[in-house]
């Protein structure tokens, strides 16, 4: 009975979102204020019913109701309760329901927090969000309901959650990622509403910006956690594989990053208007495209999701309607948009434009690299693979001009700058960069490859220039505290984001260059040395978990004959699926990770072990957190809460 209530609750939600789609859009079209005013309550209403459905799914999972197919396939009675909760988004149907939860939550928040907007815009934004809600709800109800029953023959025990997903990283990764994806649908809705209204002025950019920033922050967090999860759970010490599923989340991130830079130019200077709108549409389109790629099975990926051609077809149709429709609208309206700002070559506008070029090019590299193997085969040209070597090479090339510019750009003012004073500073700072980088690398490592040097130098360059610019802007006022106060919130966000990028670049460069590994066969009592650490294999003990059994290899890690830590690298056998899982043991540190994975049992009591020493690997995720922080800093900006029209007070940041 309860699952049926869940289903019915979704039906009600869909009815409300149909109304949310029709009333305000029609009201805005005909100028009927009463219809428009219905939007916020409809938005909150659909959210309540979706949340109810989601709560019911969690409830039936917690109570082990295996008559429900979804629970029987993705949970089991021995699963710990917290993984039962996360199993509600561990499978396809539940993941789409989680998407809906996020979608309706964002819609409700937009509805409640947009009372400063003119009704006509507010109604259109909510109407577009309602349309997206209808699309996903119809999909859930029609072809992917998590409440389907297995009656009359249901199993007494569930098939358990995929052991790969039984990890803390997996608890938060999908919700964050979906928060980001769905958040970008708000930017998308603002763009479409602005196109419908025909007023693409900077007030539009101003309203859209905090939402975009928040969505982008969540997306950044989601990707960061996803990478960390892959590192800690897959057992190979890898953190990014350029898998289609990873690419699907990276593409919207790249475009959203371009979008929030271009939004600031549009907001503050009234330039790049049509471009900004196009980015807003593209960012969300890529979220939908990513969902299609992941869910349709058209591309071979490590992540095996439900692959059903009917479902793929539905998502493709939805994609075609949403994206095709909005791009057609864009084509029809773009000719009326005029950018008004004037700027010289050496200006922040141009710097932001170049930033956008590189980000879009990076996105195209990922898009082509992801889809070309499929197209290549469809054209009858045979199978090819595009992966790590290709992407690494392309990104290594793209990052150089991008990072150099990233350092320079914050020093540029809008409109125009004098070249000579800037060049002097830049020359001086580049010398300092080279000195610091050399001292850092040659002081620590015997071999420094040119690429390693370049990558590290780029990171140093960014940090140095960002701090230099900060110092200049703080000291320009009479006192430092006043200087700090006068800097806008978005300036601090920029500092955080840019330094985050520097950490990512340094982390990727150094961990790629200086990670070492050994695959060894060890008997209890034997030792292996890797860099300055000695690993002593103490033996293997049996472990018994709630839903698995297995072995833990106990390894003492010594440095200068002193015990650093005792690591327990596990190899688990999950009872229900009979799947083996490697649970790596990691000693994390700011400067290095020690990473240990237990391999198979060999003859005569020996075990195979893989030992990794990964310097600076944590800097990547630290960088990711700093970047995400930038997004959350901006939304604290009071400017975005004011009810009045565009404010005069402008932060110095971009």
């Amino acid at each position: 009975m309860i699952p049926e209530i869940g289903y019915f609750s979704l039906v009600l939600a869909m009815a409300l979102s149909l109304l949310l789609c029709i009333f305000p859009l029609w009201g805005a079209h005909t100028g009927n204020l009463r219809l428009m005013r219905a939007a916020p309550s409809l938005a909150v209403g659909q959210c309540v019913f979706v949340l109810l459905a989601f709560a019911i799914l969690i409830y039936i999972t917690l109570t082990d109701d295996f008559t429900v197919a979804y629970v029987a396939h993705h949970s089991s009675s021995t699963l710990p309760w917290y993984y039962k909760v996360t199993s509600t988004w561990g499978g396809h149907e539940g993941a789409i329901l989680l998407w809906l939860v996020m979608q309706t939550l964002w819609t409700a928040v937009v509805a409640l927090m947009s009372n400063s907007l003119p009704w006509i815009l507010r109604a259109r934004v909510l109407g577009v969000l309602g349309f997206l809600g209808v699309g996903f709800m119809l999909y859930t109800l029609w072809m992917s309901s998590p409440f389907e029953r297995l009656l009359p023959y249901y199993p007494v025990e569930g098939r358990d959650l995929n052991p790969l997903l039984q990890d803390p990283g997996m608890i938060i990764h999908p919700p964050l990622l979906y928060m980001g994806y769905v958040g970008l649908s708000v930017s998308f809705a603002f763009a479409i509403a602005a196109l419908l209204t025909g007023k693409l002025d900077n007030t539009w950019a101003k309203w859209s910006r905090p939402w975009t920033m928040a969505a982008w922050g969540f997306l950044t967090l989601g990707i960061t956690i996803g990478s960390w999860w892959a590192y800690s759970e897959l057992g190979w010490g890898g953190w990014w594989f350029w898998d289609p599923v990873e690419n699907a989340s990276l593409m919207p991130w790249l475009v959203a990053t371009a979008l929030l830079h271009s939004l600031s130019a549009t907001e503050k200077r009234g330039v790049f208007k049509s471009w900004t709108v196009l980015l807003a549409i593209t960012a969300f389109s890529l979220c939908l495209l990513g969902t299609f790629i992941v869910r349709s099975g058209i591309i071979v990926s490590v992540h095996a999701f439900a692959t059903d051609p009917d479902r793929g077809l539905y998502i493709l149709m939805f994609l075609a309607v949403v994206v095709g429709g909005s791009l057609a609208l864009y084509a029809a309206r773009v000719a009326q948009v005029k950018s008004e700002g004037r700027y010289q070559f050496l200006s922040r506008e141009v710097a932001l434009w170049i930033n956008n070029i590189f980000l879009v090019v990076a996105m195209l590299v990922v898009l082509l690299g992801t889809l070309l193997p499929m197209i290549h085969k469809e054209l009858g040209l045979g199978s090819i693979s595009i992966g790590v070597p290709f992407f690494n090479q392309m990104f290594a090339i793209l990052i150089v001009p991008f990072a150099i510019l990233l350092g320079l750009a914050p020093m540029l003012r809008w409109k125009q700058n004098k070249l000579s004073p800037l060049v002097k500073k830049w020359l001086l700072l580049s010398v300092v960069t080279l000195v610091i980088t050399s001292a850092w690398l040659f002081g620590n490592y015997e071999v420094v490859a040119p690429l390693t040097f370049i990558g590290t130098a780029l990171a140093v360059w960014i940090v140095l220039l960002t701090l230099f610019d900060l110092m200049q802007k703080v000291t320009v006022q009479n006192t430092i505290s006043e200087g700090v106060k006068r800097l806008g919130v978005s300036y601090w966000a920029m500092v955080s984001g840019h330094i985050g990028i520097a950490f990512v670049i340094a982390g990727v460069t150094l961990t790629s260059a200086y990670s070492v590994e050994r695959s060894v066969r060890m008997l209890p009592g034997e030792t292996a040395t890797l860099n300055e650490y000695v690993y002593r294999f103490e033996g293997v003990k049996e472990i018994v978990g709630p839903n698995y059994t297995g072995h833990a290899g106990v390894v003492s890690v010594l440095k200068n004959n002193k015990l650093v830590i005792e690591l327990h690298a596990e190899k688990r056998l999950y009872n229900i699926g009979m799947q083996f899982m490697t649970e790596a043991a990691i000693d994390d540190g700011f400067f290095r990770d020690l990473y240990l994975a237990l391999g198979e049992q060999l003859t005569q009591g020996a075990w195979s072990l893989r030992i990794y020493h990964k310097p600076y690997v944590r800097w990547m995720w630290l960088g990711g957190l700093l970047i995400a922080l930038a997004g959350f800093i901006v939304i604290t900006d009071k400017r975005y809460r004011k009810t009045s029209a565009p404010s005069e007070q402008q932060g110095v940041g971009a």
Binding site: R342, F345, V361, V365, F390, S519
Partner: protein, 151 residues
Amino acid sequence: MKIVMVLLLILCGSATATEDKYVFASEERAATFRELTHELRCPKCQNQNIADSDAVVAKDLRDKVLSLVNDGKSKQEVIDYMIDRYGYFVHYQPPVTPATIILWVLPVLIVVIGFGFIVFRQKKASRKQTWSSEDEQKLAKLIQQYQRREQ
């Protein structure tokens, strides 16, 4: 000579009690092996390289790469050997063909168009420009005065 060296390494390994799974005659070869096993794709798996896969064929390919590298084959020779047998699919770096050239051409093209746009705009703008740098200085002064008064 090489064989002797490998043997020596193996012997040394067992003398210090721990045996490495893969033994190489030189550090370069170890690096080549590492690169190759990360760039070659397991043909049976979903999307994994042969270093990370537990599939039988991945292990066979790993062993083959090991023996080829230890025979002194270069990285490219090993890649060609694998492509001969498993097709281009086996290597994560796509071949350059008329169909794949777009992978490199399109990014360059977009960068050129993007920069072209700025240059084009500057030319167009400079024709219309009536706002001089003198005007700009005047404005800056005015703004400064205004800000001072505000404080």
